[in-house]
């Protein structure tokens, strides 16, 4: 199953809706592009079926790219499996730490 990323710009908010499988076979060469003046990036996981460590690497790229542009990152639509995985590897701690740290 492929990965589909739908991007919607709503004012200063960029919504990235992830659908399908975000893994080693679908994410090769992923480079997030966050338009200038974006104040918030919302990543919507509600249509994502599976994510592996390579997919988490892509999420980290989004988090760090947004942070470099002073944009906040918010997750929506996380199911329990992804929540547990993100909690184990430390994704939420990274979000929290960058939020506190600012630029």
């Amino acid at each position: 199953m492929p990965l589909h990323i739908e991007e919607q710009q709503k004012g200063h908010t960029l919504v990235l809706k992830l659908a399908g499988v975000m893994d080693y076979s679908t994410i090769d060469g992923f480079e997030p592009s966050i338009p200038e003046k974006t104040g918030e990036v919302v990543v919507d996981f509600s249509a994502l079926d599976f994510i592996d460590s390579t997919g988490i690497g892509a999420i980290l790229l989004i988090i760090h790219s947004a942070h470099e542009q002073d944009a906040a990152v918010k997750f929506t639509g996380l199911d329990d499996n992804i929540k547990e995985l993100f909690d184990t590897v430390g994704v939420f701690r990274i979000l929290e730490s960058l939020r506190k740290r600012g630029r």
């Binding site: 080693y24 980290l60 184990t88 430390g90 994704v91």
Partner: protein
């Protein structure tokens, strides 16, 4: 025509190139296997064993033992993001960081802190990360001090009790944030306890129906086998995973480290 010439040139080169590439991957595999499956440390009491089975020819999982010279041994298991050759390159980077840090760091927490300090920038630049569980174990007393950088907690099986839970400790993966200080927790490993460290390739191993091996099945095997030697337990887990997958190529590397205490100290 020039195009035809160019095409036939490429074709004549592709077979030898493919052969050379295959040979180089095989050599890289030999290097990785030798580094991973080096000498098992001799312990006055207790025993350790470990194995890594890459999903492809080479992989990104890593385990290591570093004797601290005072009866303690520093143990590490890690899982590099991604697969195949790119993950294997970063596994070597991780190994170098561990070997440098292990001799200087006071404990597993400082080991992870030093490793993150050493390779954070490289991993960030490459958009990668490594999850690692690191522990100092003193088999004679059962003291088990551990730190965690985003990895699964080990499974502990206690004779006549079944699986017991170590106090959970969570931390950010290596390469996730700069300047991380990794905390430690201390527990006690009892005589006859089995400690099983693993990467998620085991519990996520799939059969032809797409079912996963899962933690419950793994725990059941460990409870059943807990009185065996570390190596026998390791062989039993590999055999059960193979029985389950029936040789189906796996998506992820499979790595495990087994610690069996054999001291006189009763734990807490």
């Amino acid at each position: 025509m020039p195009e035809t010439k160019s095409q036939s040139f490429d074709e004549s080169q592709s077979a030898p190139m493919h052969k050379a590439l295959q040979r180089e991957i095989q050599l890289a595999r030999n290097i990785q296997m030798k580094l991973l499956n080096g000498e098992k440390p001799e312990l006055p009491t207790g025993e350790v064993s470990g194995i890594s089975i890459p999903a492809r020819l080479i992989g990104g999982d890593y385990f290591d033992f570093y004797p601290l010279g005072d009866g303690r041994i520093r143990i590490l298991i890690g899982d590099v993001m991604g697969k195949g050759i790119p993950a294997a390159m970063l596994m070597i980077l991780t190994r170098g960081a561990f070997r440098s840090a292990a001799g200087a760091a006071q404990g597993p927490g400082q080991t992870l802190t030093m490793m993150n300090d050493a390779i954070y920038k490289d991993l960030r630049k490459l958009g990668s990360f490594v999850t690692i569980f690191c522990a100092d174990w003193e088999p004679a007393t059962g003291t088990f001090v551990y730190a965690n950088a985003g990895h699964s907690m080990p499974i502990v099986v206690r004779s006549d009790v079944g699986t017991v839970t170590l106090p959970v400790l969570k931390g950010v993966m290596i390469g996730g944030l700069p300047g991380q200080i990794y905390k430690e927790k201390t527990s006690h490993i009892q005589r006859d306890d089995l400690v099983f460290l693993y990467t998620d390739g085991i519990v996520e191993a799939q059969n032809a129906q797409g079912e996963m091996f899962k933690l419950d099945r793994l725990s059941g095997i460990l409870v059943e086998q807990s009185r065996q030697t570390a190596e026998a337990i390791q062989n039993a887990v590999v055999e059960k995973v193979n029985e389950f997958t029936k040789g189906l190529p796996q998506k992820d590397d499979i790595t495990m480290v087994i610690l069996k205490a054999d001291g006189d100290q009763r734990g807490v």
